[in-house]
């Protein structure tokens, strides 16, 4: 009998996503829901989505889920978790949502040590609104609001969010992973699992940053976008564990 080499994961609903070719949202969606499935927690999870390209995440992820106003998901998740402390509660947010308009919410959810997990999709650009500068846009990177490239005199410097969150004692586990190679995707999945494990053990706030791509708004082909991620983003956003329950950096 033939063995299937690919199956739909139970965690993803059978609908077409609205993501562009080469976008890594699909990968991060799948990593999260597949991990929940493996943990047998799909039915015991509540997700809080962002405003941005992933606003429709609730149509794709097979968990109870809500939309949140721009940047507010960590506050919403804090409220959800009060009511259902034994469920897994996560937020899924992009860089504009989390690191710009929602800075206060993410910092304070982490500082309070909310027992929730945040997945942070860093693709260095606003996607849904059409390629404007994000708080994580690299110096020199072109966007529709930094058309000659991000100039620090005009637009300041990109924020390294994982490093920032890792300074907060309420954050128990903070890791940055990338979605550009099979090896990195496997590492990313381990990070997702670890974050949920931390939450299940009620240890406190867990945070996984996915260094991601946006070929459409970067103006690159999917393959060239992967190169940009590796050559331009990773030097500024180094991968690694910034905080873990075992203590210190790994």
């Amino acid at each position: 009998m033939l063995k299937p080499v690919f199956e739909y994961t139970k965690g993803m609903l059978r609908v077409d996503t609205n993501f562009c070719p080469g976008c890594t949202h699909g990968i991060s969606h799948r990593l999260i829901t597949e991990t929940l499935d493996e943990m047998n927690m799909l039915g015991k999870t509540i997700g809080c989505g962002p405003i941005g390209c992933a606003v429709m995440a609730h149509r794709f992820m097979n968990v109870d889920m809500c939309e949140c106003a721009h940047g507010r998901a960590p506050a919403v998740a804090s409220g959800v978790k009060c009511v259902h402390p034994d469920n897994i509660v996560f937020t899924y947010q992009g860089d504009g949502d989390l690191a710009s308009i929602g800075t206060a919410e993410i910092i304070h959810a982490a500082a309070r040590g909310e027992n929730i997990t945040t997945f942070f999709v860093n693709n260095a650009i606003y996607g849904m609104t059409g390629g404007q500068m994000a708080p994580t846009t690299l110096v020199g990177q072109k966007s529709t609001t930094t058309q000659a490239g991000r100039d620090t005199h005009q637009s300041g410097f990109p924020i390294r969010v994982s490093e920032l969150i890792a300074t907060l004692d309420g954050a128990v586990y903070v890791e940055r992973v990338a979605l550009n190679t099979p090896a990195n995707v496997n590492k990313a999945k381990k990070a997702v699992r670890k974050a949920f494990d931390v939450q299940q053990k009620k240890l406190g706030f867990s945070f996984v940053e996915f260094v991601s791509t946006c070929p459409t708004n970067w103006g690159l082909s999917p393959l060239a976008a992967m190169d940009f991620l590796k050559n331009e983003m990773l030097p500024y956003y180094p991968l690694g564990v910034f905080r873990s329950p075992e203590g210190g950096e790994e």
């Binding site: 039915g43 609730h58 109870d64 809500c66 106003a69």
Partner: protein, 363 residues
Amino acid sequence: MSNTKKVLMKGNEAFAEAAILGGCRYYFGYPITPQNEIPEYMSRVLPKRGGHFIQAESEISAINMAYGAGAAGGRVFITSSSPGIALMQEGMSFLCSAEVPCVILTVSRCGPGIGGIQPGQADYFQATRGGGNGDYKIPVFAPSTVQEGADLVYESMALADKYQNPILIFTDGLLGQMMEPVALPEPVVDIKSTDIREHKPWALTGYWDDDKKRNTVISLRLQPERLEEHIHKLFARYEQAEKELTRVETVGIEDADVVLVAFGTMARIVKEAIDMLAAQGIKAGLIRPISLWPFPYATFDKLTDKTKVVISAELSMGQMIQDVKLGVKDRFPVKLLNRTGGMIPTSLEITERTAAILKEIGG
């Protein structure tokens, strides 16, 4: 009537306790005068009663925590004051859109801007029209005593669930800070987190078994047809609210020379002025809207031709007067009697100004 079963309570503390008795188990607050006794009370009391208190990093976060806990099926109460309520407007619109219940109480002060901390009613538009975007409405109750405030908070905990919509209680610094005898209601039966799905089948609880329906709570509806349909659904509910939630108190309006319209704190002072006017031989009546939305427009149809003028008495530059005019429908002249900026007229001032208005229109 004996008052001996009542306890002397500060308005803010009575409102907080009434919320807990009405089933509130989730409170999220941010400090702002003159409502600080409420988060202080909740932080002290709510955890002992099986609830959760979080001091939010801003009013914006507070209402979004409320959205999360409400979407998860919890009974939520949040409070703030005028500028803080301004920051919550995005959230209020969002909660209406997503059909999430929540009771919000404002202990209003004076604006514009940071303004002052004395009692004011210049947030009438903020409360009844709202600063959030889109087609939505929020029922607004304006108590005028601590007891009435406690009763309305208590009742609203259930009304918010019934209408799947926020309910706003509009008080001011005077009601929040003053103390009066209060008889507290009986506690409602608590719903356990694990039983929420039975009571609120729409709530986010996790679906637990594969054969159960997955729930989503959403606000984004990009297809105009779907959004229009959704708004009509909300407005059918608002129509029901207009029938069921319109509340008003009237005093001697049928044969009044002059009818004053006032709510909350101002209505109390007007009541005293009505007695003083009677002593001068002037028959004055009072319409006290208890619900600001829905506004009791129909009550104005009861005024008789004996009435010469209707006066909107407000602690603002005149906001409710627009609704008063809609109710009066040009049958009588409508005048404004107001103070603002935290100044509160004495009953003597109201008496004198009412008499002067009557004289001016030739009454």
